[in-house]
Symmetry: none
Subunit: 130 residues, 4 copies
DNA sequence: GTGGTCTAGACCACT
DNA sequence: GTGGTCTAGACCACC
């Protein structure tokens, strides 16, 4: 169900949270729809249930899902969570761009990179820096 | 000399390295100029010399500075290091943008944020996301 | 697992890195195979974990291994690291040969020595020079 | 009089010793000829006299020169020193070649590099490894 | 348990 | 004084 980078980068629970966030944001998971259970997901991905649980907690904290005791977790009908997630992601891009700018990278250079991201079907990880 | 976030985020030695990279890239530190010594920097920032040393080693590996035994460390006249640093920074922006795209952020939204970064005199950290 | 010269010569972390590089390059450690953990290696060799860690970091930077958080370090399937290691080794031979040339050693004399190295099963260290 | 790499690599006193060894080996400095005084050399090269002294001590140890009290140092008429220096240099090439062999470098690859060294007018330092 | 970061303090070689 | 290496031992996040 999820594509996970076991290697470095971000922690696995964040990757799971991000995947679910994407599914919710693009409408693949609708409001009040039930999510796969923690155990089920963990088993399927060969992960420790704790790891998956942490992802779910994160999403709950962000208002993207809500748990119902002994029923499971469900997609929150509110837009709050999705908006927060997007705003956060945009902010992170801006921070990285600001850091790049500080060391002399031009807006043009960044635009070129962004076009690569948005025009084609690139994977998460850009190429190795020269 | 440096603004450091002692708390989480990125490791201190990377923050030092980044600060120096910025100073070199923007020309505040010129080629073959002497950097403050490892011990001096450590003392000034209240850090362990090892931590600063690690930052300097990183910069050396990236070709931004070169050490001269018993003399100190100096800004490398070569372009290699700066190019590496820029390529890395651009790559990081692209990675964050790809993550944002995955959760439904549009190119337009990112462009707006980037314009804010490049048009005005904002500090590194944007405000809390809405 | 490693033969280390604790006394002078090259730093211990480089010796570890070199040993592992050799094992990887000659195929004794295959792609995606797990390496002994930092702590384990340190204990076995009577070294400080930091020293071993440094060796592993070096290998990671060179693309020979990749760490997986809380799982361990693994041999990188990429060729980049091995190529880097070979290029570096060749370069070092060239540097030493250039130094020898400067003090009057002929190409012939070096060729003789190299044939000894490549034809037979000699150990690393040649005899005392005459 | 000498070309010194203040940067890393080998210690300066060894570089001085090597330069003098080369001059002696190629006959530019003849047997029993007087070498420039320690102070003079130090002043000329902007070095600490201690550093130059160390180089001279090294050469004396190796039998390349001999000191005469309050007269200065002179080139030894014996071949011993030169032979030792050459043997040592050859041995070092062999050691590096053995290390390279261990990680999969072929004799051919080394030969190519050596031809570059011996055919043309390259400087000490080979190119950056890829 | 793993890898990663950091501090404290030591020792060395070089100038 | 400088950079570089090493040890000892701590803390953290992650799984």
């Amino acid at each position: 169900m999820f594509r996970l980078n076991l290697r470095g980068g971000s922690p696995i629970y964040e990757q799971i949270a991000e995947s679910l966030t994407a599914l919710i944001a693009e409408g693949a998971l609708k409001a009040d729809e039930k999510l796969p259970s923690v155990r089920e997901t963990a088993k399927e991905c060969g992960l420790n249930p704790n790891t998956v649980q942490k992802a779910y907690s994160l999403l709950e904290e962000r208002g993207l899902i809500y748990p119902v005791m002994s029923k499971g977790s469900f997609v929150s009908p509110s837009e709050r969570g999705v908006n927060y997630a997007k705003a956060k992601a945009i902010n992170e891009v801006a921070e990285k761009a600001a850091a790049a700018k500080r060391i002399g990278v031009t807006k043009n250079e960044i635009d070129v990179a962004l076009n690569e991201v948005f025009d084609s079907r690139r994977s998460t990880k850009g190429g190795e820096p020269a």
